[in-house]
Amino acid sequence: MRKAIAWGCLVPMRRSLLGYEASTRKVLEHLGVQTTDIPNETCCAPFWMQSLDLTTSLAMAARNLAKAEAMGMDLLTPCSGCFHSYKRVNHVMENYPEMRERIDEILRSVRLHYEGTVEPRHLVDFLHKDIGPDKLQQKATRDLSGISIGLRYGCHMLKPHELLNIEYSERPIFADELLEQFGVNSVQYGGRHRCCGGLLRGVQDDIADRILHERLVDVNEQGVDGIVTVCSLCHMQHDMGQRGIKRKFGMDDLELPVLHYPQLLALGFGYKPEELGLDLHTMKTDKIVAKIMGGGKR
């Protein structure tokens, strides 16, 4: 069934995240999933906006949900922040009647209505549950068994699991399972499931740096070919933030490419690196891309 896609603010607008949109589109097209962009999508008002005013944030997010509902589609998003916001709207509307009334009233003033019937889905969960590892394996054309990566699940795709209902966040495996269909070696390591500090960027920059430093030390010790993220903020922290950490903490040998999850899948489906925006990242992806392109076909 056709899905309404919410791309979020950052994915279609930031140089290093354009590849997230491009590769998501390629992967979904390759798997025969039909999509429509949410018309004139606006900010989903994620956690930082909830911090300023929860009511406003929920009403803002409900605007995009109302559009998806009017099209009769469930909502799919590659951004964990967006996913979390939309799940939050449904949860609050179900559990707090007074807040539901308030959101209704605000939306009425802009001639919108959201009944609460849209199921928000995260791209990676959708690929795992609705498409499945088997189908991915059948469609794989490029062998990725030569590369090892450090996968980051991030926070807002999984936590808290009562709200998001994908998998218990302490030891998740579903996203690894999909990469394994292409032969990728997804390495287990300390700090794999810990926060990257992304939401403190611009507010408590020193803390954001120190947390990111811990994450980069953790993954760098594994000698992986790169990091793979499923969240816009994780990518911005690890990719755009890496040079700063290198300087601030004197990590001279730090040079880790950071791939978006569907970029790796699209490479496994045989797409060319230049179609996937891999040259737009802050950290050079040349080495991991060369290693992948030098690997065999299957």
Partner: protein, 184 residues
């Protein structure tokens, strides 16, 4: 150096009756997301998993303790509620379903209305109000999208968004925080 500012350094000062507002915890517990507060056993599972606590001296349990004790002014005007990275690990691990992250949201909402929001988040909110997204559109991004074969960027429905922000109360929050800045 002698520490003269009480905010955020509670350990250095004894609490007196003047510092305590006994109704504070009930006020927080009555708001959306705050209801878990009164279930807190102060076990510290939240502090144990906190990524901020692993790099600086920050303990969610201490914040919860301050709220339960009723240190209203101190909690609402200090940095301690703005240091949470919202990773939800504490919420995931809390056996009492206190939902610290949600309690922090309630506290931040009250602080924001009083003009004590984190300036960085206010700047981002102003950006969203103006552009409909948290980033501004540039010709460079448009060109890169075209080269990558992506469809042209849609214009966000700014008019609707701004009306929602006014109607729901965010404009008032932004005003409360920008006024403060000017008077300083």
């Amino acid at each position: 150096m002698e520490q003269t500012d009480k905010r955020g350094y509670r350990g250095d000062f004894p609490v007196t009756d003047d510092d305590v507002d006994a109704t504070f915890k009930k006020e927080i517990a009555s708001l959306v997301g705050g209801e878990g507060l009164l279930r807190c056993l102060k076990c510290g599972a939240c502090s144990g998993g906190c990524p901020v606590g692993s790099v600086i001296d920050y303990r969610p349990r201490k914040v919860l303790g301050n709220v339960l004790l009723g240190l209203k002014d101190e909690v609402l005007s200090s940095d301690q509620i703005w240091m949470c990275a919202a990773c939800f690990t504490c919420e995931e691990r809390c056996v009492q379903q206190v939902n610290f992250t949600d309690v922090v949201t309630v506290l931040r909402n009250i602080a924001s209305r009083e003009g004590n929001a984190a300036p960085g988040y206010i700047k981002m909110a102003e950006m969203v109000r103006k552009n409909g997204r948290v980033s501004a559109r540039t010709g460079q991004v448009d060109r890169m999208r075209e080269e990558l074969g992506l469809p042209p960027l849609q214009d966000p429905d700014i008019e609707t968004l701004q009306r929602i922000m006014t109607q729901a109360g965010l404009d008032a929050v932004i005003a409360a925080n920008t006024k403060e800045e000017k008077s300083e």
